[in-house]
Protein backbone atom coordinates (compact mmCIF):
# COMPACT_ATOMS: atom_id res chain seq x y z
CA UNK A 1 0.00 0.00 0.00
CA UNK A 2 1.65 3.19 -1.21
CA UNK A 3 1.79 6.39 0.73
CA UNK A 4 -0.40 8.12 -1.81
CA UNK A 5 -3.07 5.44 -1.60
CA UNK A 6 -3.06 5.59 2.22
CA UNK A 7 -3.41 9.30 2.31
CA UNK A 8 -6.21 9.11 -0.28
CA UNK A 9 -8.16 6.64 1.91
CA UNK A 10 -7.53 8.78 4.94
CA UNK A 11 -8.86 11.80 3.07
CA UNK A 12 -11.99 9.88 2.07
CA UNK A 13 -12.58 8.72 5.63
CA UNK A 14 -12.18 12.24 6.88
CA UNK A 15 -14.58 13.53 4.26
CA UNK A 16 -17.15 10.89 5.20
CA UNK A 17 -16.75 11.72 8.89
CA UNK A 18 -17.09 15.42 8.08
CA UNK A 19 -20.25 14.80 6.08
CA UNK A 20 -21.72 12.78 8.92
CA UNK A 21 -20.90 15.51 11.39
CA UNK A 22 -22.46 18.10 9.10
CA UNK A 23 -25.60 16.02 8.65
CA UNK A 24 -25.79 15.58 12.40
CA UNK A 25 -25.25 19.26 13.02
CA UNK A 26 -27.88 20.14 10.46
CA UNK A 27 -30.33 17.68 11.97
CA UNK A 28 -29.82 18.97 15.50
CA UNK A 29 -30.06 22.59 14.36
CA UNK A 30 -33.33 21.71 12.61
CA UNK A 31 -34.61 20.02 15.76
CA UNK A 32 -33.50 22.93 17.88
CA UNK A 33 -35.36 25.32 15.61
CA UNK A 34 -38.52 23.21 15.76
CA UNK A 35 -38.32 22.99 19.54
CA UNK A 36 -37.79 26.75 19.95
CA UNK A 37 -40.63 27.61 17.59
CA UNK A 38 -42.99 25.18 19.32
CA UNK A 39 -42.08 26.58 22.74
CA UNK A 40 -42.57 30.13 21.46
CA UNK A 41 -45.93 29.30 19.93
CA UNK A 42 -47.09 27.61 23.13
CA UNK A 43 -45.93 30.54 25.27
CA UNK A 44 -47.63 33.04 22.97
CA UNK A 45 -50.83 30.97 22.93
CA UNK A 46 -50.89 30.89 26.74
CA UNK A 47 -50.32 34.67 26.86
CA UNK A 48 -53.07 35.30 24.32
CA UNK A 49 -55.56 33.07 26.16
CA UNK A 50 -54.60 34.77 29.42
CA UNK A 51 -55.02 38.14 27.74
CA UNK A 52 -58.49 37.29 26.49
CA UNK A 53 -59.53 36.10 29.94
CA UNK A 54 -58.05 39.21 31.55
CA UNK A 55 -59.73 41.53 29.02
CA UNK A 56 -63.13 39.95 29.49
CA UNK A 57 -62.95 39.88 33.27
CA UNK A 58 -61.81 43.50 33.32
CA UNK A 59 -64.63 44.56 30.99
CA UNK A 60 -67.27 42.51 32.77
CA UNK A 61 -66.61 43.69 36.31
CA UNK A 62 -70.28 44.55 36.78
CA UNK A 63 -71.35 40.99 36.03
CA UNK A 64 -73.00 39.23 38.96
CA UNK A 65 -72.61 42.31 41.16
CA UNK A 66 -75.43 43.67 43.26
CA UNK A 67 -75.47 47.47 42.84
CA UNK A 68 -75.04 48.80 46.41
CA UNK A 69 -78.19 50.72 47.34
CA UNK A 70 -77.64 54.35 48.38
CA UNK A 71 -80.28 55.67 50.80
CA UNK A 72 -81.54 59.24 50.35
CA UNK A 73 -83.93 61.47 52.24
CA UNK A 74 -87.50 60.35 51.57
CA UNK A 75 -88.69 63.94 51.16
CA UNK A 76 -86.80 64.15 47.84
CA UNK A 77 -89.25 61.82 46.14
CA UNK A 78 -93.00 61.95 45.63
CA UNK A 79 -95.44 59.55 44.03
CA UNK A 80 -96.13 61.80 41.06
CA UNK A 81 -92.51 62.81 40.44
CA UNK A 82 -92.33 61.40 36.91
CA UNK A 83 -93.60 63.79 34.27
CA UNK A 84 -93.16 62.04 30.95
CA UNK A 85 -89.46 61.25 30.59
CA UNK A 86 -88.52 63.91 33.18
CA UNK A 87 -88.39 63.51 36.95
CA UNK A 88 -89.09 66.55 39.10
CA UNK A 89 -87.72 66.69 42.63
CA UNK A 90 -88.39 69.58 45.04
CA UNK A 91 -91.13 71.99 45.92
CA UNK A 92 -93.03 73.67 43.11
CA UNK A 93 -92.60 77.05 44.86
CA UNK A 94 -88.81 76.72 45.22
CA UNK A 95 -86.94 79.92 44.46
CA UNK A 96 -84.46 78.32 42.05
CA UNK A 97 -85.42 75.82 39.40
CA UNK A 98 -82.82 74.02 37.32
CA UNK A 99 -82.81 71.39 34.59
CA UNK A 100 -80.11 68.72 34.68
CA UNK A 101 -79.41 66.72 31.50
CA UNK A 102 -77.38 63.62 32.23
CA UNK A 103 -76.65 60.06 31.16
CA UNK A 104 -75.93 57.29 33.66
CA UNK A 105 -72.91 56.17 31.59
CA UNK A 106 -71.34 59.61 31.12
CA UNK A 107 -68.17 59.98 33.25
CA UNK A 108 -68.57 63.74 33.74
CA UNK A 109 -72.14 63.19 34.88
CA UNK A 110 -70.67 60.87 37.50
CA UNK A 111 -68.27 63.65 38.49
CA UNK A 112 -71.10 66.17 38.72
CA UNK A 113 -72.99 63.80 40.99
CA UNK A 114 -69.89 63.27 43.12
CA UNK A 115 -69.04 66.94 43.46
CA UNK A 116 -72.54 68.45 43.69
CA UNK A 117 -75.07 65.68 44.28
CA UNK A 118 -75.17 66.07 48.06
CA UNK A 119 -75.45 69.88 47.85
CA UNK A 120 -78.24 69.63 45.31
CA UNK A 121 -80.20 67.30 47.54
CA UNK A 122 -79.63 69.51 50.59
CA UNK A 123 -80.98 72.55 48.75
CA UNK A 124 -84.00 70.57 47.55
CA UNK A 125 -84.70 69.44 51.11
CA UNK A 126 -84.31 73.02 52.34
CA UNK A 127 -87.00 74.03 49.87
CA UNK A 128 -84.70 76.37 47.93
CA UNK A 129 -84.35 74.27 44.80
CA UNK A 130 -86.42 72.29 42.37
CA UNK A 131 -84.59 70.01 39.94
CA UNK A 132 -85.94 68.56 36.71
CA UNK A 133 -83.85 65.48 35.90
CA UNK A 134 -83.70 64.86 32.15
CA UNK A 135 -82.14 61.53 31.38
CA UNK A 136 -80.62 61.46 27.91
CA UNK A 137 -79.53 58.09 26.44
CA UNK A 138 -76.75 59.84 24.54
CA UNK A 139 -74.14 57.13 25.16
CA UNK A 140 -76.44 54.19 24.54
CA UNK A 141 -74.01 52.64 22.05
CA UNK A 142 -70.99 53.17 24.26
CA UNK A 143 -71.32 50.25 26.62
CA UNK A 144 -70.32 46.70 25.64
CA UNK A 145 -72.86 45.25 25.02
CA UNK A 146 -74.58 48.48 23.99
CA UNK A 147 -77.83 49.61 25.59
CA UNK A 148 -76.96 50.42 29.20
CA UNK A 149 -77.87 54.12 28.97
CA UNK A 150 -81.39 53.42 27.78
CA UNK A 151 -81.96 50.42 30.06
CA UNK A 152 -80.79 52.29 33.18
CA UNK A 153 -82.77 55.43 32.35
CA UNK A 154 -85.91 53.45 31.67
CA UNK A 155 -85.40 51.68 35.00
CA UNK A 156 -84.93 55.03 36.76
CA UNK A 157 -88.27 56.21 35.37
CA UNK A 158 -89.84 52.93 36.51
CA UNK A 159 -88.36 53.61 39.96
CA UNK A 160 -89.80 57.14 39.83
CA UNK A 161 -93.26 55.60 39.38
CA UNK A 162 -92.63 53.92 42.73
CA UNK A 163 -91.39 57.14 44.35
CA UNK A 164 -87.79 55.91 44.46
CA UNK A 165 -86.07 57.94 41.78
CA UNK A 166 -83.44 59.76 43.85
CA UNK A 167 -81.94 56.73 45.63
CA UNK A 168 -82.02 54.78 42.34
CA UNK A 169 -80.27 57.64 40.53
CA UNK A 170 -77.67 58.09 43.28
CA UNK A 171 -76.96 54.34 43.50
CA UNK A 172 -76.30 54.08 39.76
CA UNK A 173 -73.87 56.99 39.84
CA UNK A 174 -72.17 55.78 43.02
CA UNK A 175 -71.18 52.53 41.28
CA UNK A 176 -71.03 53.83 37.73
CA UNK A 177 -69.90 51.40 35.02
CA UNK A 178 -67.11 52.59 32.74
CA UNK A 179 -67.63 53.56 29.13
CA UNK A 180 -66.76 50.77 26.70
CA UNK A 181 -67.39 48.15 29.35
CA UNK A 182 -70.35 46.12 30.52
CA UNK A 183 -73.12 48.11 32.21
CA UNK A 184 -75.81 46.56 34.41
CA UNK A 185 -78.49 44.34 32.96
CA UNK A 186 -82.21 44.50 33.70
CA UNK A 187 -81.99 41.84 36.40
CA UNK A 188 -79.41 43.91 38.27
CA UNK A 189 -81.47 47.08 37.86
CA UNK A 190 -84.56 45.28 39.19
CA UNK A 191 -82.56 43.92 42.12
CA UNK A 192 -81.42 47.46 42.95
CA UNK A 193 -85.02 48.70 42.97
CA UNK A 194 -86.01 45.86 45.27
CA UNK A 195 -83.05 46.56 47.56
CA UNK A 196 -84.28 50.15 47.74
CA UNK A 197 -87.62 48.92 49.00
CA UNK A 198 -89.72 48.70 45.85
CA UNK A 199 -92.19 45.85 46.28
CA UNK A 200 -94.66 46.50 43.45
CA UNK A 201 -94.41 43.81 40.72
CA UNK A 202 -95.11 46.52 38.13
CA UNK A 203 -91.54 47.78 38.61
CA UNK A 204 -89.90 44.62 37.26
CA UNK A 205 -92.29 44.39 34.31
CA UNK A 206 -91.72 48.09 33.56
CA UNK A 207 -87.93 47.56 33.52
CA UNK A 208 -88.13 44.42 31.40
CA UNK A 209 -90.63 45.89 28.95
CA UNK A 210 -88.61 49.06 28.37
CA UNK A 211 -91.81 51.00 28.99
CA UNK A 212 -90.15 54.43 28.72
CA UNK A 213 -87.65 53.68 25.95
CA UNK A 214 -89.69 55.58 23.39
CA UNK A 215 -90.10 58.84 25.36
CA UNK A 216 -86.40 58.70 26.32
CA UNK A 217 -85.32 58.29 22.70
CA UNK A 218 -87.69 61.11 21.73
CA UNK A 219 -86.09 63.34 24.35
CA UNK A 220 -82.64 62.47 22.96
CA UNK A 221 -83.73 63.23 19.39
CA UNK A 222 -85.26 66.52 20.46
CA UNK A 223 -82.25 67.76 22.40
CA UNK A 224 -79.75 66.55 19.78
CA UNK A 225 -81.49 68.80 17.28
CA UNK A 226 -80.86 71.81 19.54
CA UNK A 227 -77.60 73.44 18.37
CA UNK A 228 -76.95 74.93 21.82
CA UNK A 229 -76.88 71.49 23.44
CA UNK A 230 -73.28 70.73 24.42
CA UNK A 231 -73.73 67.14 25.56
CA UNK A 232 -74.10 65.70 29.02
CA UNK A 233 -74.02 66.87 31.71
CA UNK A 234 -75.74 70.18 31.12
CA UNK A 235 -77.36 72.28 33.83
CA UNK A 236 -79.75 75.00 32.73
CA UNK A 237 -81.16 77.77 34.89
CA UNK A 238 -83.86 79.76 33.10
CA UNK A 239 -82.38 78.50 29.85
CA UNK A 240 -78.80 79.61 30.57
CA UNK A 241 -76.02 77.16 31.06
CA UNK A 242 -74.44 76.87 34.51
CA UNK A 243 -70.72 76.22 34.93
CA UNK A 244 -70.97 73.40 37.45
CA UNK A 245 -67.19 73.01 37.63
CA UNK A 246 -67.13 76.10 39.90
CA UNK A 247 -67.32 74.59 43.38
CA UNK A 248 -69.78 77.23 44.67
CA UNK A 249 -72.11 77.33 41.65
CA UNK A 250 -75.13 76.16 43.61
CA UNK A 251 -74.53 78.34 46.67
CA UNK A 252 -74.28 81.38 44.39
CA UNK A 253 -77.40 80.41 42.51
CA UNK A 254 -79.46 79.97 45.65
CA UNK A 255 -78.04 83.19 47.19
CA UNK A 256 -79.13 85.26 44.18
CA UNK A 257 -81.78 87.76 45.15
Amino acid sequence: MGGAERSERKRRQQTAAGARAVAQARGSAGNRRTIVVVIAVVVLAVLVIGGVIWTNSSKNQTEGQAIPPVATNASLDTQGERQGAVVVSGKADAKVKIDIYADFLCPYCGQLQKSSGAQIEQQIQAGNLQVSYHMIPLLNSRSDPPGYSLASENAALCAADQGKFTPFHDSLFAKQPEEGQRGYDNAQLIKLGQDLGITAPEFASCVNAGTYNQPLNDALAKISADPSFQGTPTILHNGTQIDWTQPDWLTKLVAQP
Binding site: A29, V36, L44, V48, V52, T55, N56, G180, Q181
Partner: protein
Protein backbone atom coordinates in the same frame (compact mmCIF):
# COMPACT_ATOMS: atom_id res chain seq x y z
CA UNK B 1 -20.31 51.88 -2.31
CA UNK B 2 -22.62 49.27 -0.77
CA UNK B 3 -22.60 49.09 3.01
CA UNK B 4 -21.10 45.90 4.33
CA UNK B 5 -23.27 42.99 5.49
CA UNK B 6 -22.17 43.58 9.08
CA UNK B 7 -23.42 47.18 8.95
CA UNK B 8 -26.73 46.09 7.42
CA UNK B 9 -27.10 43.49 10.19
CA UNK B 10 -26.68 46.19 12.83
CA UNK B 11 -29.12 48.54 11.08
CA UNK B 12 -31.58 45.67 10.79
CA UNK B 13 -31.23 45.02 14.50
CA UNK B 14 -32.26 48.59 15.28
CA UNK B 15 -35.14 48.34 12.81
CA UNK B 16 -36.34 45.12 14.44
CA UNK B 17 -36.10 46.48 17.98
CA UNK B 18 -37.76 49.74 16.89
CA UNK B 19 -40.74 47.95 15.40
CA UNK B 20 -40.88 45.70 18.47
CA UNK B 21 -41.01 48.78 20.72
CA UNK B 22 -43.89 50.19 18.65
CA UNK B 23 -45.95 47.01 19.03
CA UNK B 24 -45.15 46.45 22.69
CA UNK B 25 -46.05 50.05 23.56
CA UNK B 26 -49.26 50.25 21.56
CA UNK B 27 -50.34 46.75 22.56
CA UNK B 28 -49.82 47.21 26.27
CA UNK B 29 -51.59 50.60 26.35
CA UNK B 30 -54.55 49.05 24.54
CA UNK B 31 -54.59 45.95 26.75
CA UNK B 32 -54.51 48.07 29.91
CA UNK B 33 -57.76 49.87 29.02
CA UNK B 34 -60.06 47.41 27.25
CA UNK B 35 -63.08 49.73 27.50
CA UNK B 36 -61.24 52.50 25.69
CA UNK B 37 -59.93 50.07 23.08
CA UNK B 38 -63.48 48.88 22.41
CA UNK B 39 -64.63 52.47 21.90
CA UNK B 40 -61.62 53.23 19.68
CA UNK B 41 -62.36 50.26 17.41
CA UNK B 42 -66.04 51.10 17.39
CA UNK B 43 -65.37 54.71 16.37
CA UNK B 44 -64.17 53.56 12.93
CA UNK B 45 -67.78 52.50 12.25
CA UNK B 46 -66.62 49.60 10.11
CA UNK B 47 -67.89 46.57 11.99
CA UNK B 48 -71.12 45.48 13.65
CA UNK B 49 -71.10 45.39 17.47
CA UNK B 50 -70.79 41.60 17.48
CA UNK B 51 -67.48 41.90 15.60
CA UNK B 52 -66.14 44.99 17.39
CA UNK B 53 -65.94 43.05 20.65
CA UNK B 54 -63.64 40.20 19.47
CA UNK B 55 -61.54 42.57 17.35
CA UNK B 56 -61.01 44.93 20.29
CA UNK B 57 -60.02 41.96 22.45
CA UNK B 58 -57.68 40.40 19.91
CA UNK B 59 -55.94 43.51 18.55
CA UNK B 60 -53.82 44.39 21.61
CA UNK B 61 -52.83 40.73 22.02
CA UNK B 62 -51.80 40.45 18.37
CA UNK B 63 -49.71 43.61 18.72
CA UNK B 64 -48.04 42.26 21.86
CA UNK B 65 -47.36 38.89 20.22
CA UNK B 66 -45.68 40.63 17.26
CA UNK B 67 -43.69 42.75 19.70
CA UNK B 68 -42.49 39.69 21.62
CA UNK B 69 -41.46 37.84 18.44
CA UNK B 70 -39.61 40.90 17.13
CA UNK B 71 -37.81 41.56 20.41
CA UNK B 72 -36.66 37.94 20.45
CA UNK B 73 -35.88 38.02 16.75
CA UNK B 74 -37.81 34.80 16.30
CA UNK B 75 -39.66 34.19 13.02
CA UNK B 76 -38.58 37.71 12.17
CA UNK B 77 -39.71 37.65 8.56
CA UNK B 78 -43.12 36.23 9.40
CA UNK B 79 -43.62 38.76 12.19
CA UNK B 80 -42.64 41.50 9.75
CA UNK B 81 -45.11 40.25 7.14
CA UNK B 82 -47.95 40.18 9.66
CA UNK B 83 -46.87 43.60 10.95
CA UNK B 84 -47.05 45.00 7.44
CA UNK B 85 -50.52 43.52 6.88
CA UNK B 86 -51.79 44.98 10.15
CA UNK B 87 -50.25 48.38 9.39
CA UNK B 88 -51.82 48.43 5.93
CA UNK B 89 -55.19 47.69 7.56
CA UNK B 90 -54.60 50.51 10.06
CA UNK B 91 -53.74 52.93 7.27
CA UNK B 92 -56.84 51.86 5.34
CA UNK B 93 -58.96 52.32 8.47
CA UNK B 94 -57.66 55.83 9.11
CA UNK B 95 -57.94 56.76 5.44
CA UNK B 96 -61.56 55.64 5.21
CA UNK B 97 -62.42 57.61 8.37
CA UNK B 98 -60.82 60.66 6.80
CA UNK B 99 -62.60 60.10 3.49
CA UNK B 100 -65.98 59.58 5.18
CA UNK B 101 -65.54 62.71 7.25
CA UNK B 102 -65.59 60.95 10.62
CA UNK B 103 -63.92 62.94 13.37
CA UNK B 104 -62.03 60.33 15.35
CA UNK B 105 -58.68 59.79 16.96
CA UNK B 106 -56.98 56.70 15.52
CA UNK B 107 -56.47 55.25 19.00
CA UNK B 108 -53.15 53.94 17.74
CA UNK B 109 -51.41 54.46 21.09
CA UNK B 110 -54.34 54.45 23.49
CA UNK B 111 -57.09 57.03 23.43
CA UNK B 112 -59.29 56.86 20.38
CA UNK B 113 -62.94 57.48 19.79
CA UNK B 114 -64.72 60.65 18.76
CA UNK B 115 -62.91 63.98 18.82
CA UNK B 116 -63.98 67.52 17.94
CA UNK B 117 -64.02 68.36 14.24
CA UNK B 118 -60.78 70.39 14.38
CA UNK B 119 -58.90 67.82 16.43
CA UNK B 120 -58.36 65.09 13.84
CA UNK B 121 -54.79 64.27 12.82
CA UNK B 122 -55.30 61.94 9.89
CA UNK B 123 -52.24 62.95 7.82
CA UNK B 124 -49.88 62.61 10.80
CA UNK B 125 -51.41 59.27 11.77
CA UNK B 126 -51.04 57.90 8.25
CA UNK B 127 -47.49 59.24 7.94
CA UNK B 128 -46.55 57.57 11.22
CA UNK B 129 -48.00 54.24 10.13
CA UNK B 130 -46.19 54.49 6.79
CA UNK B 131 -42.98 55.00 8.75
CA UNK B 132 -43.66 51.82 10.71
CA UNK B 133 -44.49 50.08 7.44
CA UNK B 134 -41.01 50.97 6.15
CA UNK B 135 -39.51 49.25 9.21
CA UNK B 136 -41.60 46.16 8.53
CA UNK B 137 -40.61 46.31 4.84
CA UNK B 138 -36.90 46.31 5.71
CA UNK B 139 -37.33 43.17 7.80
CA UNK B 140 -39.32 41.42 5.08
CA UNK B 141 -36.60 42.12 2.53
CA UNK B 142 -33.70 41.53 4.87
CA UNK B 143 -34.65 39.70 8.04
CA UNK B 144 -31.11 38.89 9.19
CA UNK B 145 -30.20 40.85 12.32
CA UNK B 146 -27.85 40.62 15.26
CA UNK B 147 -28.87 39.39 18.72
CA UNK B 148 -31.75 37.33 17.39
CA UNK B 149 -33.04 33.85 18.12
CA UNK B 150 -33.23 33.31 14.37
CA UNK B 151 -29.48 33.99 14.18
CA UNK B 152 -28.78 31.66 17.07
CA UNK B 153 -30.78 28.91 15.37
CA UNK B 154 -29.03 29.34 12.02
CA UNK B 155 -26.43 26.58 11.59
CA UNK B 156 -23.54 29.01 11.29
CA UNK B 157 -20.56 26.58 11.47
CA UNK B 158 -22.14 24.00 9.24
CA UNK B 159 -22.59 26.18 6.19
CA UNK B 160 -19.00 26.53 4.97
CA UNK B 161 -18.39 22.84 5.74
CA UNK B 162 -21.35 21.88 3.61
CA UNK B 163 -19.94 23.84 0.73
CA UNK B 164 -16.59 22.12 1.16
CA UNK B 165 -18.18 18.68 1.14
CA UNK B 166 -20.18 19.53 -1.94
CA UNK B 167 -17.00 20.62 -3.64
CA UNK B 168 -15.32 17.37 -2.69
Amino acid sequence: MRPSQAVLDVVGTFVRLGLAAVWLTSGSIKLADPGQTYLAVKAYQLMPDAVVHPVATALPLLELALGVLLVAGLLTRWAAVVSAVVLVLFIAGVAQSWARGLTIDCGCFGGGGQVAAGQTQYPQEIARDVGFLVLAGWLIVRSRTRLSVDGWLRPREAEPAVREVERA
